[in-house]
Every structure is written in structure tokens, then in C-alpha cells.
Symmetry: C2
């Protein structure tokens, strides 16, 4: 048999992180590899009450098919929730998706022809790169510094890339670097997108998890022409297992996302949507987020302080003001994939950074997650990693 697959399948590979995670689920492993929330913070008791209430009062609707757009009261709450990012939205502006990963896939489907270019941060979120690749696009990476994408570099790229069709950015506590863009760059990005008439996909899964300082206005908040598509999710502020995210976009564009959702899976889970909506009625999500932030802040502090203590001076890392990740840069001659093998021998895991660069290179980087490990394991894991680094550097 020689069944032919579509050409796009040549570009689709298993996510390296997912494959790695399979290796790192042994209980003895201290894993900084995933991007998982801390499960001990999941509101399990509250979810029991919420689910009983949903099944009691709206069981038939919760178990039945519903509209593609999403459960109307939830759409309304989602719309209001974006006010902290400077966004005014109405329920009808929202499409509920199966996690914000689905919003990424749909963005590729809606905007990208084969050979089109996605302009993105260097590095960028691996899951987005994989989703877009299914539409046979190319990537042009824009250099970044400690404050995100460098706007003068973006302008050069846009001037020289007529095939650019979409700009994809994660301006808050970026995955993988943990970096956040200042307000000026956000405004400038919108100006440049206006000039070159391109849509911007703003991916903001972590923005609410800010440990210190003020929340900057979102890129969407500077959008006067309806060209910014904002992707949000409850995976990091509530629970990822429900798979509830959303798209906020101007009507013409949102309509495309709704039609694509119909063909893709008809609708997000009716019961998950109603559970989340009822949770938001019965409990205070902001209080829950405060709890998450307090724990993650401690874990970040512990990770960063221990890294300062035990990592060799040649090794640099970012200081994230929120979110889940810090990003480590080794001296250029070093390779994080080789280092990973050594680390796994000491039962410590991270994600080598090379695959976050769509056009390759940068093998001297890796991503560290601090949200998913308890404090004693963070200290122990970083100490072991410090030893591995020292050995590797002394060779």
C-alpha cells in the first residue's frame, strides 16, 4: 500500500516537548520541562459543587449539542474579563474554543496560503509554530531583547518580506522566554501592522499571572482598525483539563473563526462551558488567581535565586515578572540537547530551546518551568542542574 498523504503533512512533526514529556513522567524526575499549572491549586471541591448545580439545573442543555459560538453567559463573562487588559468587548465578539491552541490552528487556517510568511518573535511558542506549519507557511523571526520583539528589526523585516501575511506575538510573559513587552512596543506594533495591512494574532495565556508591577494594556487595546485577533484561555487561571479558550476579533474576522469551528469540531464542550460559567457565578476567579500567583511567585523567586547561587556566571537567564517560564542561555559553543542527556542522568528535565526557533540554531538555550514543582524539588533540581552545568563548562 502506498497511500498518499497531503503535502502539508511533510511539515508536521510530533512536538518535541510532548515526546520529551513522555520520558519525564517517571516519578523520580524533577521536571522543569512541561508548562503545566500546579494541580494542587485546582479547585476540586468547588468543581464538585459547580457540576452538581449544572447537572441539577441545566443537565439536558449541558449534555446536548449547543451553538458553535459558545454558551452566551460565558461569552459575556469572557468579554468583561478582558477589561484588565484595556479591552472593551461584547458577548457577541467572542468565540469559545477548545483551548487557545485551537485559536492558533484556526488562525493558520484562516490567513495562510502555502508559502506565506508568519512573522514571529525569535524564539516563539512551539505549539503555535507547529499549528501554523500545517498550512505550509514559512517563518521570519524578529530578533528580541529583554523587552520582547525589537520594533526597528520588525520594521526591517516587514519592509523586506512582501510574503508576510500574519504577525504572531506573545507579549506577556512569553513562552518560552518569560519576557514582557513595554507599552511603546505594543503601540508601535499596531502602527506597523496598519502600515503593512497585516493581521496580528496576540496570544495571551499568561497575562493575568503577573507577580509584580502593573498589567500593561494589551496590543488589542491599541487596535483601531480591527486587525488584532486576541486569543485567551482559562487553562492557566483555572484548569486546562476543561479545554476552554476564546477568540476575540472584529465581526468580519470572528465570523471566519466561527465557520472554521463548525467544520473543525462543531462546538466546545457544552458541559465544560456551563461548569466554568457556573464557577464564575458561584466563586471569585480573581481570588483564585491571587492564590495561584502567590504560589508561583514564591516558586519563581526560589528558582531564580537558586540559579543565581549555583549556576556558573557564564550562564544567563531571564527574570520573568509573571507566567510560568524562565529562559536560559549558555555560552554559544554549548548544546542544550547534550546537556539534557546529562541532566536526565541526574533525574532533572528541561526543554532544549532549539525547537522554539522555527528556522533552527540557538541550540545553546533551554526553557525552565517553575509552576509545576514543589519548592523543595525546585531547589534540589536547580542544584543538580548547577552541577551538570559546571561539569559541562569545565570540560
Amino acid at each position: 500500500m502506498a497511500i498518499q498523504f497531503a503535502k502539508r503533512m511533510e511539515g508536521i512533526k510530533a512536538s518535541e516537548i510532548r515526546e520529551l514529556l513522555k520520558l519525564t513522567t517517571r516519578p523520580e524526575i524533577i521536571s522543569f520541562a512541561g508548562g503545566l499549572p500546579a494541580p494542587e491549586l485546582f479547585p476540586i471541591e468547588e468543581m464538585k459543587k459547580v457540576t452538581l448545580k449544572v447537572l441539577e439545573e441545566q443537565g439536558k442543555q449541558a449534555l446536548q449539542y449547543s451553538t458553535t459560538e459558545g454558551h452566551q453567559p460565558l461569552r459575556q463573562k469572557v468579554a468583561k474579563s478582558m477589561a484588565i487588559f484595556g479591552i472593551q468587548a461584547e458577548a457577541d465578539d467572542i468565540l469559545i474554543t477548545s483551548g487557545s491552541q485551537q485559536g492558533l490552528d484556526f488562525s493558520g487556517k484562516i490567513f495562510l496560503n502555502p508559502g506565506d510568511v508568519v512573522v514571529c518573535e525569535s524564539p516563539s511558542y512551539l505549539g503555535a509554530l507547529n499549528a501554523f506549519k500545517a498550512y505550509e507557511c514559512e517563518f521570519v523571526e524578529v530578533p528580541t531583547d529583554d523587552h520582547g520583539m525589537i520594533m526597528d528589526e520588525l520594521e526591517k523585516v516587514l519592509a523586506n518580506t512582501p510574503q508576510a501575511r500574519m504577525i504572531y506575538v506573545i507579549p506577556d510573559f512569553q513562552n518560552p522566554t518569560g519576557r514582557t513587552w513595554p507599552v511603546e512596543r505594543r503601540k508601535r506594533l499596531v502602527e506597523l501592522a496598519n502600515k503593512y495591512d497585516l493581521p496580528i494574532v496576540e496570544d495571551n495565556p499568561y497575562g493575568q499571572l503577573r507577580f509584580e508591577g502593573e498589567i500593561p494594556p494589551s496590543i488589542k487595546s491599541f487596535d483601531t482598525e480591527g486587525r488584532v485577533i486576541y486569543l485567551g484561555t482559562y487553562s492557566k487561571t483555572f484548569c486546562p483539563g476543561l479545554r476552554i479558550g476564546w477568540v476575540f476579533a472584529s465581526p468580519e474576522i470572528l465570523n471566519k473563526y466561527i465557520m472554521v469551528k463548525q467544520g473543525a469540531d462543531l462546538q466546545a464542550s457544552s458541559i465544560s462551558q456551563r461548569e466554568l460559567d457556573t464557577f464564575l457565578d458561584m466563586y471569585n476567579l480573581d481570588e483564585h488567581v491571587e492564590k495561584i500567583k502567590n504560589i508561583y511567585r514564591k516558586r519563581r523567586d526560589l528558582m531564580i535565586n537558586t540559579m543565581k547561587e549555583v549556576f556558573p556566571k557564564e550562564v544567563k537567564f531571564t527574570y520573568p515578572e509573571g507566567g510560568l517560564f524562565t529562559w536560559v542561555e549558555l555560552p554559544e559553543h554549548m548544546n542544550a540537547r547534550d546537556l539534557m542527556v546529562k541532566a536526565l542522568e541526574k533525574n532533572v528535565a528541561f526543554v532544549p530551546g532549539g525547537s522554539f526557533f522555527p528556522n533552527g540554531g540557538h541550540e545553546n538555550t533551554f526553557r525552565m518551568n517553575y509552576s509545576n514543582m514543589p519548592e523543595d524539588k525546585i531547589v534540589e533540581g536547580i542544584k543538580r542542574l548547577g552541577e551538570v552545568l559546571k561539569e559541562a563548562l569545565n570540560k
Copy 2:
């Protein structure tokens, strides 16, 4: 602003059924339009117990990210469940999807380049046609009779269509016609697919809902070369609101579906998967399906018998041995879209059949659903429809 959308978006339109359903949700409407299960049969009390048990015993895992492939114990149960269709499968052969609609979308993504041809029944499931269109394919429809796709016609099509890349069929209680293929045609289909080296997507959402006679072996059961992709779902035998379906395929092909699922939405809902798995541990799904079948059988009988009584003789309809639908053919000069307007004036709704034919025509047909309306409304609705038909025929 003149943002460019991808070329594929030209072919993606809102599903006519979904748009129609919006019009038919007024409470006074007797709707035979949707494809909804009967919500009074949903196991709401059981779901309360199931959910409490899941949150009690595996709350952290149920609310956390999990593997793309799906919850292993559920994959195992799914694999075993296909024995009634003559299928031997293992847990590792299964991918859990967000409803079987997602399996359709992925099939298009994996197999179709622009211009490729999908060979399908005439008519075929509208949701599948819309999912495939997103990959810029063409359709060649194979004529059908009361026993499904006519194999000699299929052979002619395959001999004359070098661009054919995929065969899509619903052999059991087809949507929209309610027809079922006999064993010989199933075998013959596999032989022809072997000869022309094509994958078959076998979509079987209704097969378990057989009211009389024996369940025929699935097309997949005759697959010796690993070219049949079998799509299943719990939406019709359990509840659609959880959005749980599956793909069963040979390893090389299944691996493509898994990679596509990673990019599309990472995974199906963790909590839905564990709820369903726990339901299958605590209760007997076969008994639940028996209950559904008994109710639907009565409704089918009532609909068909009332149609025999009150529909004019010129109007033909199918006799489904299971599933959710019967299919009505009017004299050729009549148009079911016009009829729909008249029916809605009498507060009765159905789906005009034209949009189930990807290449148009056949506007003298419509689809009727009998699973979602109580018995008195079925009788009343069909009587009203009889009047509309008589009026239209007498003009």
C-alpha cells in the same frame, strides 16, 4: 483595511443546518430539522455520581493537561466496543477526538491537497462536506439506491477520476438518508479501494442504534491493508455535550492523526474523557443504548406510519432500520426550500436536502429527524406537513 484571507476560506460557508437551527429554536416550532439526541434520555443522575467519583478519586488528573492520544483506560474500552462491528482493536490503535466531526476535519487535513477529489455518497453528510471543503477539494458523488452506494457506479467513478484521493462513506443509517449498506457492498468497496490504492473514511455515528435485524460487519472489518479509517463517537449513544469521539486506524495513519491533533487542540477534554470512562465502569452502556433504541424505534414507527397515512402518494421516503433520519423525495418539479417556508408558517421545520449534494441539484428532497421530538409532536408535525405537501402538490 483589506486583510487577505487564505484562498481556502472562499469555499467555507456557514452550515445551512446550523443557520436554520437558529430559526427553529422558537418553542412553538415542531422541529424535525436537527440531528439531536433526545435530551430526556441523558443519564443526568448517573453523571452526577460519575463526576463526583472522578473529582474525588482523580480530580488533579481530570483537571490537568493529559496526553494527546487520550486517556488510556478509555482508549481500551473504545477498542473493545467495536467488536460488535467485527473489529479487533487495541487501546494503542485509538485516538480520542473532540467528537467525530474532528476526525472528519483531520481526514481532510491529512489526505487532501487542493484540487484532490473526495468520492462520496450522493447525498452525503453536510458537516463532512464542509470539513473537507476547507482543504480546497472537489467532490465526485456516486449514485445510491435504497441500499447505499452503487458499487458498479463507484467503479466507473474510480476508473475515470485519477484525482480521487479519499473515499468517504456512512454505511449505517446514513446521514441524511437513513440507508444501510449490505455486506456485499462493504466487501466490494474495500476491494475497489485496494485496487485504486485509496484510503476509506468510514463514519459510523449511528451503527449501534439498530432497531431491528443484525448489525452488519463494518467496512473496517474487511480491511486487510490498513487503509480504512474508522470514525466513532459517543454523541449518539451517550451525550454529545461531552464532545468525545475517536479515530481507529493502522499505526502509520493513526500517527498522522495524533500529530494533527497536537497542533489542532493538544487533546480532548481530560475531565470528559475520565467521566465517560468512569460511567462505562459504573454503568452498562448497552442497557442505556437499549433504552434509547426503544424510544427511537417508537418514534420512527410513528413518523413513518403517519407519513404513510397523510403524505400524498407522489412523495417517497426511506425506511431506516436505525439511526435518526428518514429522507423524503418530492416530485422533481418541487423545491423543498420553498416548502420549508410554507412549513415554517405552520411551525414545522425540516432540512431541505439540496445542501447534502456537494455539486448541487436535488432540491426536491429533504431530511427528517425523529429522535428529538416527543410522540405527540411527531404526529402533529407530520399531519401539518401533510397539509403543506397537499397544498403544494395541488397548485
